[in-house]
């Protein structure tokens, strides 16, 4: 049965919605990876349990893509270990691949082939027994409501449908672990909602763990558990609401002609330390509304605009790293996808 490893990573703060004895599907321990002159991963340890969607949230360059490549058997780390159930991801890639589904960010479907042809080829690559093949093809296409569209060429499908077909292809061989690289990048909001609907539907009917990488906070917010990565390290790990609670009660965001003077003034008079990021002064506070009115009265000239909101995963990232999530390494703000 489940073997508890002595060097197991620290346990997640809470396992939500899952029964206490839910099996762990993926165990990763102390992964490191480097390019010449640059450490990409600095000791990553994590676990993913059956039935859960684990989001790895981080900016570009945080190392999440490299982590995904290692987990999908395409790259080897310098040190550390990774196990999918009882299979060693690093030492036994062949066996691991039989139990692993991967949906890459760039489309893996052949656009000149129909949906069915793509899936049929996949079934044969995974050497599904002939008897099982047609059943699995039908099941996978049905989970994603693609059965009626199966004879259409991939190039003629909308982005949302292509994404669903990618997923159907990824789960055809009933993997224990499904890896998704930036799954809803490039999808419009409606298609994104639909994608999540189908992902949840899939998890209800199968016994697998889903690990996805994303730089979108709303995608992480929909997941069961979030690991925030920055500069090759795990910054924090918990359910979206747990993480947001670590920030505090509410966030007040202030705009001002002189942010620095406002920041010093607030610290002196109200004893609240704020952070300046992207032209805003952000304050974490418990009694938001009360403090907001005090502020506006105390600094009538310095405050141009004030917003009060609940903390988001963006705020969690800011608090843990001192930087905004959507500012990439060159400091250029990224357009919200």
């Amino acid at each position: 049965m489940k073997k508890q490893r002595s060097h197991a990573p620290r346990t997640p703060r809470a396992v939500h919605r899952l029964a206490p004895r839910t099996p762990t599907v993926l165990r990763v321990n102390g992964l490191t990876y480097a390019y010449p002159g640059r450490a990409v991963l600095r000791g990553i340890s994590l676990e993913a349990k059956e039935g859960e969607i684990l989001a790895i949230l981080g900016p570009n360059g945080s190392g999440k893509s490299t982590l995904l490549k290692i987990l999908s058997t395409l790259a080897l780390p310098a040190s550390g270990s990774a196990h999918l159930d009882r299979w060693d991801v690093l030492k036994d890639p062949y066996e691991t691949r039989r139990h692993l589904g991967v949906v890459f960010q760039s489309p893996a479907l052949d656009d000149k082939l129909t949906v069915f042809e793509n899936l049929h080829f996949q079934a044969r690559l995974y050497a599904l027994p002939t008897a099982e093949m047609s059943v699995r093809l039908k099941e996978s296409l049905n989970v994603f409501s693609l059965w009626d569209r199966r004879h259409e060429r991939v190039e003629h499908l909308s982005g949302g449908l292509q994404r669903r077909a990618e997923l159907a292809k990824g789960i055809l061989h009933k993997p224990r672990l499904l890896l998704l690289d930036e799954p809803s990048t490039g999808l419009d909001p409606a298609a994104r909602l639909e994608f999540w609907h189908f992902l949840r539907r899939l998890l209800r009917s199968t016994k697998m763990a889903v690990v996805l990488t994303t730089h979108l906070t709303d995608e992480a917010d929909r997941s069961d558990r979030v690991i925030i990565m920055d500069k090759g390290e795990i910054v924090c790990d918990g359910t979206p609401s747990e993480l947001k609670h670590t920030v505090g009660g509410e966030i007040i965001a202030l705009r001002s002609p002189d942010l620095e003077r406002l920041r010093r003034g607030i610290r002196r008079r109200l004893g609240i330390a704020g952070t300046v990021a992207d032209g805003e002064l952000l304050l974490e506070t418990a009694g938001g509304a009360l403090i907001l009115s005090k502020l506006v009265r105390a600094f009538p000239k310095l405050i141009e605009a004030a917003t009060l909101r609940k903390p988001s995963l963006e705020d969690v990232f800011l608090q843990k790293t001192g930087r905004r999530l959507h500012t990439n390494l060159e400091g250029r703000a990224e357009s919200p996808a």
């Binding site: 790259a75 691949r97 890459f104 960010q105 760039s106 893996a108 000149k112 042809e117 044969r124």
Partner: protein
């Protein structure tokens, strides 16, 4: 083995659904043949060959090889596209032997290249008076061998390329000169000694030589200055086996140890 058939089938379906590809591959060599062949038709003399041979006839086997060369090389570019899209990645994470990727791709491209060669081979009876069923079947066999060698060479080059631009550069610097110096355009007997020396080391020279001999049904008079048919076949087969093996090794090796770059 299933993996190989899957990859071959995919290659064939893709080709059928992009028929314009075939035009590009056949039309330009045929234009070459008609224009250069007719232009030089009367001014050509084949040292050591039959005096009556026109340049159109001399140039025909070389053009046949050029069709196969273009077809295999252009199809190899699709490997770079497969990598740029996620298709290759999804094959790499499938539980298959990596060598199947080489075999599947090379076999698929070979079939396509040989088929395109056949289209042009249909002109053989009009160009070569002594053509027979036997000589055409023999030529087809040689073309398949040439196609296999060129496809595996194309695979090997494309595997280490990140962009199609890089592939075009290699094509102009290596593959086109290989063809120019293969005896396709001019016979080895009339060329400067240094050119002849390079030609002797060019594997494609043996491909053109074997094609030429096969087209004349191995008649004793045709291309007597060229290496023997059997020797040419052996060299072709040797070249193909070595390229496929190197490709199979590289496919295993590079992906195991390469520090893969961030995708974004």
């Amino acid at each position: 083995m299933t993996a190989v058939t899957v990859l071959v089938q995919r290659e064939l379906i893709r080709f059928v659904r992009q028929r314009s590809r075939m035009l590009a591959v056949i039309v330009s060599p045929v234009l070459f043949w008609v224009v250069i062949g007719s232009g030089l038709n009367r001014s050509f003399q084949y040292p050591g060959g039959p005096q009556s041979m026109t340049y159109l006839e001399y140039f025909y086997p070389g053009t046949l090889v050029l069709v196969v060369l273009f077809a295999s090389i252009f199809s190899s570019i699709s490997l770079i596209e497969d990598r740029r899209d996620g298709f290759l990645q999804s094959v790499l994470v499938a539980p298959i032997n990596r060598s199947s990727i080489v075999l599947g791709k090379v076999a698929g491209i070979t079939i396509l290249a040989a088929l395109q060669g056949v289209v042009f081979l249909a002109a053989a009876p009009a160009v070569i008076q002594t053509s027979s069923i036997g000589s055409i079947v023999l030529t087809l066999f040689v073309l398949v061998l040439v196609a296999t060698g060129l496809s595996s060479l194309g695979f090997l080059i494309a595997w280490s390329m990140d962009s199609t631009q890089g592939f075009h550069a290699i094509m102009n610097l290596l593959l086109v000169p290989m063809w120019l110096l293969s005896g396709a355009l001019f016979p080895i007997t009339g060329s400067a000694s240094w050119v002849a020396e390079i030609m002797r080391w060019n594997p494609l020279m043996y491909g053109v030589a074997a094609t030429r001999k096969a087209l004349y049904g191995l008649a004793p008079g045709a291309g007597q200055e060229l290496p023997g048919f059997g020797v040419s076949l052996l060299i072709l087969i040797g070249f193909t086996v070595v390229t496929v093996l190197v490709a199979a090794i590289r496919v295993q090796k590079r992906l195991a140890s390469k520090p893969l770059e961030e995708s974004r």
